[in-house]
């Protein structure tokens, strides 16, 4: 008797070996796609969006690449998801996490082909991941006590992160920028306080960190262009016509003169509001919403600098920097905290006029102005800098640091290999496979740099046979070098997140023995 169809028409079902095959193939395809971007000599990808204008992005940031892909394979989606989370949580290592998960699955595929049950592989992987983590924990360096050393650690981490990005040419410059910016945050992870302004023109080297705050706005006409000892009122209030908010109110008049009267009253109201604002004794007024011509004129008359339409982030940051609070009513001037800064002036960057607040009270926020040849370069520079800032701010919180350049992978691989030798049963195959997957990362780094990976990794392995070795791949000279001397460091938090998320994702995919795909929802054809 024929098996009854139990699923809806377009729904498909894949079972057992086929399901596993589908997820392996999907995951490995994603890994292969992204693995050429790994490491300092990794290549970039061009992404063309299907949206209007076919916008182009050039990047080697794993999360950005994966986010833009349209994927149908469910296993591949799992990998994209972990990369996204890695981006949100620690900001860097988005490529590594996918590559490691992919390598773990590639090894698992071989084991499954050798008739080892996925559950056995999973329990082996788990043991291995735990062992690898403790191996890392033993080797971490924590320079929390020593501020000087810690700062140099941060510098090294920033350089390592940036070296794989477009900024690698000027990595020292940018690393310094990023470290300075993060040190100003004093331990908070709120990267909102660091503003990045992109202005095309000039070269990347011309980028700079500004201690003050730069607002990408113009100063109103006829108002002073430079104010010293500014008192700033930051506001979020309607400065067009101040509407009556009581519901259902409307004006009904029977003659033209009445209209004029009411218009007059409206104007009067606005004038009063402006007077109240002026009564705060300020000489700069920044509003989130529009300021119409009429109030602007009034401000100009009073010699007050009025800045309209600062976006919400700008307002918040400005309030943070100048130490003022965001006001919406102006009746009690004595209790509103005003912001202060030494000088407000209009400056020119490239072709554009910007407003620069310098000598601000609170040192937390700062602005990084990026200059570069084109929008693509700037976008990529921003992403790279963002990665570096994320990693640094996380490192400030969790000060443990590791060496880089494939060193942590080799350390883990060695310990995991040890474990495999001690473990009886089929699990030891899985543990061995885990160590092979770890070694794949330095291999890929070397391959991407055009080096003889087989030779280098073998040398590296031999070097690591000795206790307390600092050997890693020196991509620049193409040999095995001492990572401590070369100053290549990575944050422990990032490495740990890579290890754990990758193992978790691999485990998740391995556990699947059936894929049920529902019929895709019918959409209207927009084409």
């Amino acid at each position: 008797m024929a098996i009854e169809k139990i699923l809806k028409d377009d729904a498909t079902e894949e079972k057992g070996e086929r399901a596993r095959m589908a997820s392996f193939v999907g995951a490995i395809a994603i890994t292969d796609l992204i693995k050429t971007t790994l490491g300092p000599k990794g290549m970039d990808k061009i992404l063309q969006s299907t949206g209007r204008g076919h916008g182009i992005t050039v990047t080697n940031d794993g999360a950005t690449i994966l986010k833009s892909l349209h994927i149908d394979n469910p296993a591949a989606k799992v990998l994209i998801d972990i990369s996204k989370v890695q981006d949100d949580e620690v900001g860097d290592g988005t490529t590594s996490v996918v590559v490691l998960a992919g390598e773990l699955l590639r090894e698992a595929e071989k084991l499954v082909a050798a008739k080892i049950h996925p559950m056995t592989i999973i329990s082996g992987y788990r043991m291995a991941a735990e062992c690898a983590r403790s191996a890392l924990l033993q080797r971490v360096v924590d320079n929390k006590e020593n501020a000087e050393k810690f700062k140099s650690d941060l510098m090294k981490i920033a350089m390592t992160t940036l070296s794989s990005k477009i900024l690698s040419q000027d990595k020292e410059h940018f690393a310094q920028l990023a470290v300075d910016a993060v040190m100003r945050l004093k331990g908070s992870t709120n990267l909102e306080a660091i503003q990045i302004i992109k202005k095309p023109g000039g070269s990347l080297k011309d980028s700079f960190l500004d201690e003050g705050f730069i607002l990408d706005k113009k100063i109103g006409l006829g108002q002073p262009k430079r104010i010293e000892n500014a008192k700033i009122l930051v506001a979020n209030t309607a400065m067009d016509t101040d509407k009556v908010k009581i519901y259902g109110a409307r004006v009904r008049v029977d003659s033209m003169s009445k209209v004029a009267e009411i218009e007059g009253a409206e104007k009067e109201k606005m004038r009063e509001k402006v007077q109240k604002i002026i009564a705060h004794g300020i000489n700069c007024f920044v509003n989130r919403q529009l300021i119409y011509n009429f109030p602007e004129e009034l401000f100009a008359d009073a010699g007050i600098l009025a800045i309209e339409h600062a976006d919400f982030d700008g307002i918040e940051r400005l309030a943070l920097v100048t130490g003022g609070e965001i006001a919406s009513t102006f009746d009690n001037p004595e209790s509103v905290k005003l912001g202060h800064c030494k000088v407000i002036e209009e400056i020119m960057i490239g072709e554009d006029k910007l407003i620069h607040f310098s000598g601000v009270e609170m040192g937390q926020a700062c602005t990084i102005v990026l200059r570069g040849a084109s929008h693509h370069v700037l976008d990529e520079a921003e992403r790279s800098l963002h990665d570096a800032l994320c990693v640094l701010s996380q490192t400030v919180n969790d000060t443990r640091v590791l060496l880089g350049g494939g060193w942590p992978e080799m350390i883990m691989a060695k310990e995991v290999d040890e474990l495999a030798r001690k473990t009886p049963g089929k699990k030891s195959h899985a543990i061995e496979a885990f160590s092979r997957a770890l070694v794949a990362i330095p291999t890929i780094i070397a391959d991407n740099a055009g080096l003889d990976s087989a030779d280098l990794v073998a040398q590296l392995r031999a070097a690591h046979h000795k206790e307390g070795c600092n050997a890693g791949i020196d991509v620049i000279s193409g040999s095995v070098g001492d990572m401590a001397e070369l100053g290549i460091s990575e944050s422990f938090k990032v490495k740990q997140a890579v290890l754990l998320s990758a193992t978790e994702a691999a485990e998740m995919i391995l556990r699947v023995d059936e894929i049920i795909t529902c019929a895709p929802r019918q959409r209207e054809d927009r084409m």
Binding site: M1, I82, V85, D88, T189, K245, E504, R511, V512
Partner: protein, 535 residues
């Protein structure tokens, strides 16, 4: 299609648009139904037990779910067949009633159907089979009562509860840290449980998840988390001994329900209106301040002006809090939800020892923790995990564990897991079968065989030899007259489930058997399927 003809050879039209419908009758119908039911059971069979595999489900919108929770799998499958839908219902009702064992019940039903098919082939009438099953299920349930054991726990001795929750969690992906999760679940349930009445209101336990971090970071918060932040970025981030005003009215000018118009025709009116508006905002904030509130939680939005006034008066506020969360906050803090400013009184304020805002990761994710509430019965389990799917799956697993803990508080009888209860029932039913004269004897015996299929599936999924293992365990149970022997899924080295601490709740098991039998009876009684034919 069977057609009736009158004496002139014209067909009688019995059904509307008869020729467009397919119709299955009699044995054909039963066999088709059984095979559909079996197909569903076959999908779930591999997910059973601690070594069960997961299923990956892709929704119509392309979202991926990875789970091994029977109810979830069936819910998300695009099931079209009517009988298959019945199986989905079956698993869902187990989920509502017990919360755990959703896979087991479907596997059990599938096995019963398979046995029924053999009996049908031998010409036994479906109703007789159904009756036999009914008798057998009653025997099995009685036998379960017989072998069940009470076990003691108290607020101080939670170990047995934790053990049971661990059994439930061990079949899920989270089994890496089942111990902490089980402890969290048990503590959560105990803190909301009413041990006098033996009841637990699971609504008081909120399970929240946030992507990022590790599974080990999952924590139990004696209080509530709200996925919101303070309405004004400069409000204080931490409030000690908060008195909370819980409002469902917006900080906005009133909007009367009746249609009205305020006509402005003179300058004076315009001005009075303006003043009134200002006063209105002032009044609202003042009222909150007057009753002594130190935190305002509002279901609606704030006008910019009101927001600033709040900030100005040093009154932190949270806006756009959902209705469900608002209720939870009200329960937890012992406050009342106030729909109008006029009704705000000091007695209606909720109290919490500590309210704080916490931010996560590199993105600007903030959550509000309300802790040390006046009425600390509401708790939140806050899950962290590597990715969205992981968190969803953890949520489902914790839900199962919570249900199990609740069931144990309601009724503290347990049976041992690992298939031992099924094997023991199967032996008892088999022995009882011989005493029945009549055709039902065969059905009862078939029922016993069906019971065996659960431990068989367990063994199969754990990579053991199913038949060898099962027969060994069975003979051991009979020989030593000890119903605690089961399948050693985790390769611990002993078959005694009491030593392995693998329990299941008695009601859960009984419910499984009863529900599965009911559905199978229903399916067996169908002898005619009329459906619109495919076109």
């Amino acid at each position: 299609m069977a057609l009736a003809f009158d004496e002139y050879g014209r067909p009688f039209i019995i059904l509307k648009e008869q020729d467009q419908k397919t119709r299955l009758r009699g044995l054909e119908a039963q066999k088709a139904n059984i095979s559909a039911g079996k197909a569903v059971a076959r999908i779930l069979r591999t997910s059973l037990g601690p070594k069960g595999m997961d299923k990956m489900l892709q929704s119509p919108d392309g979202d991926v779910t990875i789970t091994n929770d029977g109810a979830t799998i069936l819910e998300q499958m695009d099931v079209d067949n009517q009988i298959a839908k019945l199986m989905v219902e079956l698993s869902r009702s187990q989920d509502y009633e017990i919360g755990d064992g959703t896979t087991g019940v479907v596997v059990m039903a599938g096995a019963l159907l398979e046995q029924a098919e053999h009996l049908l082939e031998r010409g036994i009438h479906p109703i007789r089979i159904a009756e036999g099953y009914e008798m057998a299920s009653r025997m099995a349930v009685e036998h379960l009562d017989h072998i069940a054991q009470k076990f003691d726990f108290g607020p101080t001795n939670i170990e047995p509860l934790v053990q049971t929750c661990m059994t439930t969690l061990s079949s899920k992906i989270v089994n890496r840290c089942k111990r902490p999760l089980a402890e969290i679940s048990v503590k959560a349930v105990l803190s909301v449980a009413d041990l006098e009445r033996k009841d637990v209101n699971l609504d008081l336990i909120k399970v929240e998840g946030k992507v990022g971090g590790k599974l080990e970071d999952t924590e139990l918060i004696y209080g509530i988390t709200v996925d919101k932040d303070m309405s004004h970025p400069q409000m204080p981030k931490q409030i000690q001994d908060a008195k909370i005003a819980i409002l469902t009215c917006p900080f906005e000018p009133p909007k009367p329900k009746t249609k009205h118009k305020v006509d402005i025709d003179t300058v004076e009116k315009f001005q009075t209106l303006r003043q009134q508006e200002q006063k209105y905002f002032d009044d609202m904030v003042q009222k909150c301040k007057d009753v002594g509130a130190t935190l305002v939680i509002c279901q609606w939005g704030f006008d910019d002006e009101a927001n600033h006034l709040l900030m100005h008066r040093n009154l932190p506020a949270v806006r756009w809090v959902g209705g469900v969360e608002l209720e939870l906050i009200a329960i937890a803090t012992g406050g009342r939800i106030v729909p109008r400013f006029q009704e705000l009184t000091p007695e209606k304020l909720g109290r919490a020892g500590l309210v704080r805002e916490k931010s996560f990761g590199t993105t600007k994710d903030k959550m509000l923790y309300i802790e040390h509430c006046a009425n600390s019965r509401a708790v939140t389990i806050f899950i962290r995990g590597g990715n969205k799917m992981m968190i969803e799956e953890t949520k489902r697993s914790i839900h199962d564990a919570l249900c199990v803990a609740r069931n144990l508080i309601r009724n503290n009888s347990i049976v041992y897991g690992g298939g031992s209860a099924e094997i023991s029932c199967s032996i008892a039913v088999e022995a009882a079968a011989d005493k029945y004269p009549g055709v039902e004897q065969y059905a009862i015996r078939a029922f016993a065989d069906a019971l065996d299929s659960v431990p068989m599936a367990l063994a199969e999924n754990s990579g053991l030899q199913p038949i060898e293992t099962l027969s060994a365990v069975k003979s051991q149970q009979i020989k030593e007259n000890n119903p605690h022997f089961g399948i050693d899924c985790n390769d611990v080295g002993t078959n005694d489930m009491r030593e392995q601490n693998v329990f299941e709740t008695l009601i859960g098991k009984q419910q499984q058997i009863l529900l599965a039998t009911q559905v199978v009876k229903m399916i067996l009684k169908i002898d005619d399927v009329i459906s619109p034919s495919d076109y």
